[in-house]
Symmetry: C2
Subunit: 431 residues, 2 copies
Amino acid sequence: MLNIGLIGAGTVGGGVVKLLHSQAPFFRNVLGLPVHLHTIADKAVNRFPQLPVGNANCTDDADTVINDPDIRIVIELVGGTTFAKDIILRSLAKGKRVITANKALIAEHGPEIFQTAERHGVSVYFEAAVGGGMPVIKTIREALVGNEIHSVKTIINGTCNYILTQMSLQGLSFSNALAQAQAKGYAEADPSLDVGGGDSGHKVAIMASLIYGGYVPFNKISIEGISTLGHEDIAFARDLGYCIKLLGIMKRNPVNDACDVRVHPAMLRTDHILASVNDVFNAVLLEGDAVGQILLYGRGAGELPTASAVMSDIVDAARDIIGATPRRIPMSYYQTGNELPLKPIASIISRYYLRLGLVDVPGVLGTIAAIFGKHGISIASVMQRENLSQECVPVIFLTHTASEQNVRLALAEIAQLDMVKCAARVIRIEE
Amino acid sequence: MLNIGLIGAGTVGGGVVKLLHSQAPFFRNVLGLPVHLHTIADKAVNRFPQLPVGNANCTDDADTVINDPDIRIVIELVGGTTFAKDIILRSLAKGKRVITANKALIAEHGPEIFQTAERHGVSVYFEAAVGGGMPVIKTIREALVGNEIHSVKTIINGTCNYILTQMSLQGLSFSNALAQAQAKGYAEADPSLDVGGGDSGHKVAIMASLIYGGYVPFNKISIEGISTLGHEDIAFARDLGYCIKLLGIMKRNPVNDACDVRVHPAMLRTDHILASVNDVFNAVLLEGDAVGQILLYGRGAGELPTASAVMSDIVDAARDIIGATPRRIPMSYYQTGNELPLKPIASIISRYYLRLGLVDVPGVLGTIAAIFGKHGISIASVMQRENLSQECVPVIFLTHTASEQNVRLALAEIAQLDMVKCAARVIRIEE
């Protein structure tokens, strides 16, 4: 028997109990994997009666799982980065395989966790940490193992994508769209980890580490959220043939250059394949030297989609135990001593959407254009909208490729002008 | 050393040689997998000087690979179903792992191949057989292992999708679009396996077998190709808000019902996620009970995309050898004794696009509508176009859900009418 201990029977944990209930006979009888849900631990013991726990031992004490030598696989679904980390490190130290959906923990403490696993000759499985039921980790580590992955562009936070979709389709303000997301259960009461970009950043840090074969620290990634996006920008973007998405972006070219890893709102032409990813859906667009473009699309969160990824990890872990392949996929490169240099956001090259609020006086466009020219920024198109208010005319510039550094210098110079009345709005354009 | 023998150094085989040349050091040094391209066999020995063969033994005799006890992994890339089958069966009998991209062979002789592999305690790896570099097989067998997959809809032949895209965007006839595909190298001189739907059928037979956990025989799948599609249907479809794609469709609901597995042109609303899959791109839309909808999108063919899938299989095979997991993913269910019942195409339920060619006389629509009503077919919309010719007015009906059987009966009755001048055109509509 491959006994499983589950710690945390909340949303995703409850989904795992349900799917194991229905799938374990298939795993045992068809796949030859004798998995058994042995113990479930959760402080909220009132959750147990709601779930098909079968003959599993139900307890409020995680130590019951960690200390039981009969349990070979521990599933950590409590969340957070303190108690969860303790559970995982202690389970690994006892030679147990660990499965987790905890993106914050892997992104912020991955090296310690993976080194502990390597030291004890076991693996950590974390397919559910990125992209819910989409096989993001498996695709990067296994399916595309023969590729150099040049770039990844990803919509990886369903809350933000839902909010942006509502702002775009219904013309809602950010705060109204957020309220709608909260009403539908797509956003937390405290939405800051999602709308601030931190959750996307956690997932991007993990993906970038896997793709580049080193350690990409979460706290060094440039992250901008969506809470300052105006719905007028979304409307203007649409008039220009673009939409706005919160993108996670990973690029490295040439291979030995610093990694360009960032999260920020970005404009995409409406015919871009990511532009049609709406509502709570997620997508990951990978570009490999051999495979070309590959897109994964699906629900990136939720009880059963995330539990589906945990089930995939259960089967992988069971196969590794049966096959005596404890380190089937080595993670030894994922350590602090192997930290990779990251490209500062100021040194990136991009196209830009720049919205300036100008006084409507003769000569203003010429003055602005001269400043752009001085900083080597070439303008692809200009659109002047009708007055939004008495004193401030929105003027939108789309640039050709320019360096972020030069754009910042030009905007700083422009901000000094008397004819400038509102702060400039900057959105990077992705091809 | 895990010695690899490659048989067939054509397009995909050449790509494998190139990728192994660049990636083998990574496999050896980072992944700990000591793979080595030991021998390459191809009758066309003039291919060898074009490739980075390194210190591999190059021969025109496949037996050199099959009979060498030092070779643990055989990659079969010769194609066809006779010599390739012989190579694979003999290699398996000698206890070698076999990797193949041969969709026709798996679809038509899978049971014999998998049973031979099981008998000798080794695995056959065939990620490259379906969807080029997209991880279709891995996603079905590993990532979604915790799901019941309710349905799959797939655009899985790049040649057909390119032709349909050109017919749609440029208004070309089928034969002109085919000629363009041939000029670009996207279609063979004899395109019948692609445009007739057989290639899609091979891939669908494999996918359906994996999804339903039994054997779906290729020769029992209902297959229609695209060569009889008129560009006017594509234009009419567009006017109605639809596009036409060659779809592979797998459905089973409820689970114990016969499997509905088929390949035919189908209309999709232009906002359907598969509608934006154009040119030579492929996509697989899977729907699982836990994960919901998952889409894979990418290039389904070509030298390096297909070689990328072979690399993924090489790494899996190497890990299985190192980890002594010869039957990590059992295939024992894939045998003739476990053949699954298939739903006859006549018994499906679908929505339909029906184009009739009618004489423009009073009362004609009423007569037709009465026949539909008699057979329980409810009409969702009707569109009468201007005359294409003197004698025949095209009239298009979109039906609500109806049984194929009833549609056929109604059309047979309609065909008897004097006012009907051209054969009816039937296209199923997918949601």
